[in-house]
């Protein structure tokens, strides 16, 4: 069933189709938990600075290792007054700070930002996204915050506090960074860092577009920029290998990033969701270099040869054939992109076959995840939505600025709309996925401009599940890059993906009626490890064995 919504805007009414949730049980209870008092400040102005519409990220991490996921939220910043000539932003006021919320045993949250040493962070910057990874293998997740301006690496001290180690680490970057992620591209057991940058922009270079009224300019109005790859030396410092690795050879308009070994050669590859140009797929050659192969492999364009306005990306196996596929969110007028991994290093765009033609086309997607929300053994699709332009209705009466989130359950590789628990329309941006209450049912935390984060708490059900916590020994401690197969389903271990966000690093598998599980892990080190679980509905810690 689909419902018609009549919009009236400037005397022009329009028929808009929207997903209806009538007749189906909601999968989530959507609410703002006690103590989670964050508001994403993007500071929109009449100047329509492009950056205003792009934040902000969210991370789910257990920073204090108490077994409960905590939430880190990246804030935007205060934009100088319209006649100001400053080329920086103010984050001095507490309302513009990034925030870390510690989860309490009762499900409420406590703001521990100042206590953790994360306050006043990023003054002169405008906040964008966050990546999480244990780059020094000390067992505690570290934070990397991307900004317009200087990025910040926070080392987790293990005592509830963080230290800004950016200068020592050499990962400040610069320009306009967006999504970022930790991964181990050379399988040396130490997490490296990939930083996506959007475009060559500054307050002075900003342009305003629109013939009838001002609005944000498309990315093509600004020069492209290269992405950054930092190699972890293992001594707390990183080497910028962007040029040496070949990553810098391709400039683009990147927004999202995700990692998976798409061709099964044992090395993690990189997909960058680009806005309004070809998508980039950097194949890891295994020798420290990358080759961009999206066009040749079929992952650059739609089947019609059209360029996606790529925003967020999920790089997981949606049809249970064991190979990671790509879902790319984008702007309206075309369905979201689904690049099916056909094997042999080849993708084919199959958005219509996967049902995306019915779920998108007039909506704009950002944060995205492929997670098994009903534990039936198939990864479902969640996308937080909302258009870029806050005045888009004045240009196109068939499109809305505020959109409800999209939840689509996976039926044998085809997605069908389901009840997300809310039809509230928001300007959604970031989304992170994880099991907040450790009940084995995947939850979502999403950000929205000028609003509190939305927490989608899974209502659960009767199906069985298994959670896996990887503990690398020869491989990186987080086990990022591992290929984990459980009862025929495959997940690629990563916290990266979505848009500007970082998800629960634990691997979640819905098992349906199965009460046992056979686990087959291929660690980044090359070590193969098989584990039989006689008991399910639990989180299983699997430590990498020492020998193949």
């Amino acid at each position: 069933m689909r419902a018609r919504v009549l919009l009236s805007c400037l005397g022009v009414s329009a028929l808009i189709t929207a997903g209806s949730t009538v007749g189906t049980d909601p999968v989530f209870r959507v609410y703002t938990p006690k103590g989670l008092d964050f508001v994403l400040q993007n500071s929109p102005t009449m100047k329509k600075y492009l950056i205003e519409t792009m934040p902000g990220g969210v991370a789910l991490l257990d920073y204090n290792r108490d077994g409960l996921l905590d939430i880190f939220l990246v804030n935007g910043g205060r934009v100088p007054s319209s006649n100001g000539k400053l080329d920086f932003f103010s984050r001095h006021e507490p309302s513009y700070w990034n925030r870390l919320y510690r989860q309490n045993p009762d499900g409420s949250f406590t703001d521990v930002t100042e206590k953790a040493g994360l306050s006043k962070a990023g003054d002169t910057n405008y906040g964008m996204g966050v990546a999480v990874g244990d780059y020094d293998n000390d067992g505690y997740p570290d934070l990397y915050v991307t900004n317009y301006g200087r990025n910040i690496l926070y080392h987790n001290n293990g005592d509830g506090t963080f230290t800004d180690v950016t200068e020592k680490a050499g990962v400040a970057a610069g320009g306009w960074s967006v999504s970022a992620g930790f991964f181990d591209y050379d399988n040396d057991g130490k997490l490296d860092l990939f930083v996506v940058r959007y475009l060559d922009w500054s307050m002075q270079k900003n342009k305003t577009c629109g013939t009838q009224m001002p609005t944000y300019c498309p990315p093509g109005e600004f020069p492209p920029v290269s992405n950054l790859l930092f190699h972890n030396r293992g001594d707390g410092t990183f080497e910028d290998v962007s040029v040496k690795s070949g990553i810098a050879a391709k400039k683009g308009h990147g927004l999202g990033v995700a990692f998976a070994d798409f061709d099964g050669d044992g090395f993690a590859d990189v997909f960058v969701a680009n806005d309004a140009i070809e998508q980039y797929l950097f194949h890891n050659n295994g020798d420290g270099t990358f080759r961009e192969v999206a066009l040749d492999s079929g992952a650059a364009l739609t089947v019609d040869g059209k360029k996606l306005s790529g925003m967020g990306v999920a790089f997981q196996d949606y049809d249970n054939d064991g190979k990671p596929d790509l879902v790319v969110t984008q702007l309206p007028h075309e369905p979201y992109g689904v690049f099916h991994n056909d094997g042999q290093g080849v993708f084919s765009e199959q958005g219509l076959e996967a049902g995306l033609g019915l779920l998108s086309g007039n909506v704009s997607g950002w944060g995205v995840g492929l997670e098994d929300f009903n534990n039936d053994g198939w990864k479902d699709l969640f996308i937080i939505q909302g258009h870029v332009f806050d005045n888009v209705e004045k240009y196109d009466s068939t499109i809305r600025y505020l959109e409800p989130p999209l939840l689509a359950l996976n039926h044998d590789g085809r997605f069908e709309r389901a009840n997300a628990g809310t039809d509230e329309a928001v300007a959604g941006r970031g989304a992170a996925f994880g099991d907040l209450n450790n009940d084995g049912w995947m939850d979502v935390v999403a950000t929205r401009l000028q609003g509190a984060p939305l927490v989608f708490m899974n209502r659960g059900g009767k199906a069985h599940w298994l959670g896996i916590v990887l503990e690398g020994t020869k491989s990186n401690r987080d086990g990022y890059g591992a290929r984990v197969e459980v009862n025929g389903q495959v997940r690629f271990a990563t916290a990266a993906g979505s848009y500007l966000s970082s998800s629960d690093p634990r691997l979640h598998f819905g098992l349906g009626a199965a009460t046992t599980a056979l686990i087959d892990i291929r660690w980044p080190s090359g070590i193969r490890q098989k584990v039989a679980a006689d008991k399910v509905d639990q989180y299983l810690v699997i430590k990498e064995k020492s020998a193949p």
Binding site: L15, G305, S360
Partner: protein, 364 residues
């Protein structure tokens, strides 16, 4: 554009080799001949002076007025040409040259209705069509412009005015329909088309539904309403409407194509292939149908997809659809492991895309 039409019809020298009539004095004739010589040398200002002297000396000297009007027109002063040409026409209404020039002069100054009788007399269909269109006589304009195009089929100005006149005729007919039969099904359909063209899809939907309620057997209405739903990606409703249209018009290739397209957008590839094949049988070699057929069959029936897409590349050369067909073929062949062929098709896709972008940049 009117000016361009007018100047293309001006005469090099109206009086060359002509004898002066008895109505003119010898002195007037002398001024006329001097004026013609000056005009030949391109000295239009002094030629005008000589022609004016000729008409002042002999006030009924038709050739004097005609040459004076002609010189003004050559100078681009169409407004000043009208009075002497009117006088020439008054003195000799049967002169085709005078009628033609006067018609052009009046038309170029916006006196379209006044120009019509003069242009009609000399069957100057191009300018006549423009004058009729400017006067709101769209059906006559269409006929005149079609007659003109029969003589010069590829004239861009005439094609442009024919398109405008046709639009005007369409709009006029709609106005007549709406004023004479405001409550008719066709009136509701016409209103729906108007609302849809202004992107007011909600009102368009209401009007189409009203038209269907009044005449459920009306061909084409469901097709148009289906397009409204398609424009907002409401493919299930679009499919429903297109399917109904195929029942009303089982021989309509377009209805079958639209239904196939709506099915494809929903990922119902098997049904889409079947319907698009039916459309292709009803009207073979429609590139859009073949392209959709190729896309729908890509993962389901690769040989059929290949056949359809290759046919698109035969029918379309260096168009967007041709480039897209090459892209889809490259997807198909890459998947089949035909890497070299896929690479060539990808290159062809890129070549055509680049060509189209360059053409677009040039036109801008």
């Amino acid at each position: 554009m009117i000016t361009r039409l007018v100047t293309s019809f001006l005469f090099a020298s109206l009086l060359a080799g002509q004898q002066a009539p008895e109505s003119a004095s010898r002195e007037a004739i002398q001024h006329l001949q001097t004026g013609v010589e000056l005009e030949k040398r391109g000295d239009l200002d002094n030629a005008i002076k000589e022609f004016s002297d000729a008409t002042r000396i002999s006030p009924n000297y038709e050739m004097g007025f005609l040459n004076l009007g002609d010189a003004y027109m050559k100078k681009g002063e169409y407004g000043k040409a009208i009075a002497p040409l009117n006088k020439a026409a008054e003195l000799n209404p049967d002169s085709p040259t005078t009628q033609r020039l006067l018609g052009f002069a009046l038309l170029s100054q916006g006196y379209a209705a006044n120009a019509i009788p003069h242009l009609e007399r000399v069957r100057e269909y191009g300018a006549l069509g423009i004058a009729q269109m400017e006067s709101g006589k769209y059906s006559e304009a269409v006929a005149s412009l079609q007659a003109a195009l029969a003589k010069t089929p590829n004239d861009p100005d005439l094609l442009y005015y024919l398109a405008r006149a046709s639009e005007g005729l369409s709009s006029q007919s709609m106005d007549s329909l709406l004023s004479a039969f405001p409550g008719s099904a066709r009136a509701h359909q016409a209103m729906a088309q108007h609302y849809f063209s202004t992107k007011d899809t909600a009102k368009a939907e209401q009007e189409y539904e009203q038209a269907i309620r009044m005449r459920s057997d009306l061909p084409g209405v469901r097709l148009e309403l289906g397009e409204v739903y398609a424009s907002v990606s409401d493919w299930p409703k679009a499919e429903q409407l297109f399917r109904q249209e195929t029942q009303i018009q089982p021989g309509s290739a377009e209805a079958a194509f639209r239904l196939g397209d709506a099915l494809m957008k929903q990922g119902k590839m098997k049904e889409a292939v079947s319907e698009l094949q039916r459309s292709d049988e009803l009207h073979p070699d429609m590139p859009e149908t073949l392209y959709d057929l190729g896309k729908s069959a890509l993962n389901l029936q690769p040989p059929e997809a290949e056949r359809a897409l290759l046919r698109v590349t035969e029918l379309e050369k260096e168009t967007l659809l041709a480039s897209q067909a090459y892209q889809a073929l490259s997807v198909l062949h890459r998947k089949q492991g035909k890497t070299e062929l896929a690479s060539k098709e990808l290159q062809e896709f890129q070549r055509i895309q680049s060509l189209l972008q360059n053409n677009l940049a040039k036109s801008n």
